[in-house]
Amino acid sequence: MSLRAEYFLTDQPRSRMQARLGRAYRAWAAFRENKLAVLGLVIVLILVTMAILADVLAPYSAVVGGDLRTERLLPPSAAHWFGTDDQARDIFSRIVHGARLTLLVVAMVAVISTPIGLLVGTAAGYFGGWVDQVLMRITDIFLAFPRLILALAFVAALGPGIENAILAIAITSWPPYARIARAETLTIRNSDYINAARLQGASSARIIWGHVVPLCASSVIVRVTLDMAGIILTAAGLGFLGLGAQPPLPEWGAMVASGRRYLIDYWWIATVPGVAIFVVSLGFNLLGDGLRDVLDPKAQK
């Protein structure tokens, strides 16, 4: 065993820091075993890199097209790796810039829906009684809806656009998180340390925020990661229907839709963004599966 592994894997850590690092090291070692999960991580990292370095990586503008007479609908070549679309825009550059939109949607939905789910779930579980009844009824109603249809109806009401698509997806994706947070809260709400905090006169809000939420967070976060592929697909679906990001934004779903008219003669316009959506959501699926096995001990056999 190398010195480094010894430091991480010791059963007598000298500091909290060492203990935490050791736990992370073990998790990473378990994660690394799962080749598919590593592939997922690589895909997600490539997506993040593309989003950050979009301006450097993209050889052309994502929005402004080239010469409409000579550079329209060109097949893939050395100059245009993925060809050009009907507005003479370089598809590779649009894909690279589209990574930003995809990440934005995923991140924003996670940022909006996770706290809602956590709050509803922990409050329902902690207070119990009629609060639980009311909150869980509402959650069930949202769960009973078909998700895409509900998102469609919301976008219809709010008007098309990427912000409203994000909002609509967030509104429809919090209920499972509330369910999970509630279940976790029920298992810890009567534990001694919660009672101790209560005896010391801590307010309910303080107990929920300071003692319950941190314990529920990890399982909810695993679930959010698992949902990310679904979020990407829903956002792309809304984009495809013309209800998500509006032109000329290089959103992948909308790009597939714009290539539909040219499908038979100029197949690459619709094909390439579809492949991008597929690869990225595959990456998130693989990563989420791997993370669940590592972080969620209950899911392990």
Binding site: F142, L226, F240
Partner: protein
């Protein structure tokens, strides 16, 4: 997988209710009523926050102020919100979702016209997914870690990662445009229109009943691609769930007993294990049927299939809110109903629950 867990929780949504003192059927009806009420409340609120002024949509933007005011009162928009909701509720329960601005028909009539097409597609898809998915799942469980198992895993991953609208376009490109194996978008070629009188509205059924074989063949050729595509997604779900149910059953002691008795492996797997796994499987199939109704929104758009999904998206693009909300309510209601149905079926089939 995320969607699996979600469907699980959807399927059991009525099991942890507070009013446990009531017998199960009443409890389920209570849940159903509450969920419907919630469904209508949400659609009502969506209808109220729309930036489109419903009065303007009727009178046009050049109407004088007094006409505008009169129509506003006629439409009941001057009343308090809760009163409006009650009126909305009363109408919705009787199936009155207002008039579609786009088609000038009653929304409910429009929905009656387009719904059979969606039903046809979703049914074909579920049949495809079940007929292939169950045996695949069983084989994957029996040959754990071997080729079939890996194949089921890959099918599942593709199903959960591929955007259905894109897969549809690719299928059209390959099987219709290049290979010419199937017919293109739409439900029928124009030459076959109006031959069959609509009875059920499902062309495949109607043409069979009326003995129009040419029409049946043409309709089938049109339906094959979208149905297989939708069915693929239910195949991914069903085969995965079958596998896990079968693994669960195969580890039970009665399997050991059956082996000790000297039963053939074939009878143990298909006769004993699958029979017990079939109980939760029925729920899964019902749920996947409900999911296909949802999946049909994107598929119908790609294949120009004149069903409810396309009706909703068309209405959306024309800001026809009555039609959108009516369609949403119908799909939501079918969804909720199927969830309840699968729950009841589960209770009926499994004597332990």
């Amino acid at each position: 997988m995320s969607s699996l867990a979600e469907n699980e929780s959807r399927g059991r949504s009525s099991s942890h209710l507070g009013y446990g003192f009531l017998p199960t059927p009443f409890r389920l009806c209570g849940t159903l009523a509450l969920t419907f009420l919630g469904l209508l409340l949400v659609t009502f609120l969506i209808g109220r926050v729309v930036p489109i002024d419903p009065v303007l949509a009727v009178v046009g933007d050049r109407a004088p102020a007094n006409v505008y005011e009169r129509v506003r009162i006629e439409m009941g928009l001057d009343r308090p919100l809760y009163e409006q909701f009650f009126i909305y509720l009363k109408k919705a329960v009787t199936g009155d979702f207002g008039t579609s601005v786009l088609t000038a028909n009653l929304v409910i009539d429009d929905i009656k016209r387009v719904f059979p097409a969606t039903l046809e597609l979703a049914t074909l898809g579920t049949v495809f997914g079940t007929v292939l998915g169950v045996p695949l799942g069983v084989l994957a469980a029996v040959r754990q870690g071997r080729f079939v198992d890996q194949a089921v895993r890959v099918i599942g991953l593709l199903g959960y990662s591929a955007p259905i609208f894109w897969l549809g376009l690719m299928a059209l490109l390959v099987f219709y445009a290049h290979l010419g194996w199937t017919a293109g978008p739409g439900r029928l070629d124009i030459a076959y229109d109006y031959i069959v009188t609509p009875v059920t509205g499902m062309i495949l059924v109607d043409s069979l009943m009326q003995g129009e074989w040419d029409v049946f063949a043409n309709a089938f050729s049109h339906a094959a691609l979208p149905a297989i595509l939708l069915g693929y997604f239910s195949l991914a779900y069903i085969s995965r769930m079958t596998r896990s149910f079968m693994l669960n059953e195969l580890s039970q002691e009665y399997i050991v007993t059956a082996r000790v008795k000297g039963l053939s492996e074939f009878r143990i797997i298909w006769g004993h294990a699958l029979r017990n796994a079939a109980v939760p499987l029925v729920t899964v199939i019902a749920l996947s049927y409900a999911n296909l109704l949802e999946g049909s929104v994107l598929t119908e758009t790609v294949f120009a299939w004149p069903g409810l999904g396309q009706y909703i998206t068309n209405s959306l693009q024309n800001a026809d809110m009555n039609a959108v909300l009516g369609g949403t309510i119908v799909i939501g209601a079918v969804f909720v109903g199927l969830n309840l149905f699968s729950d009841l079926l589960y209770r009926l089939l499994d004597p332990r629950v």
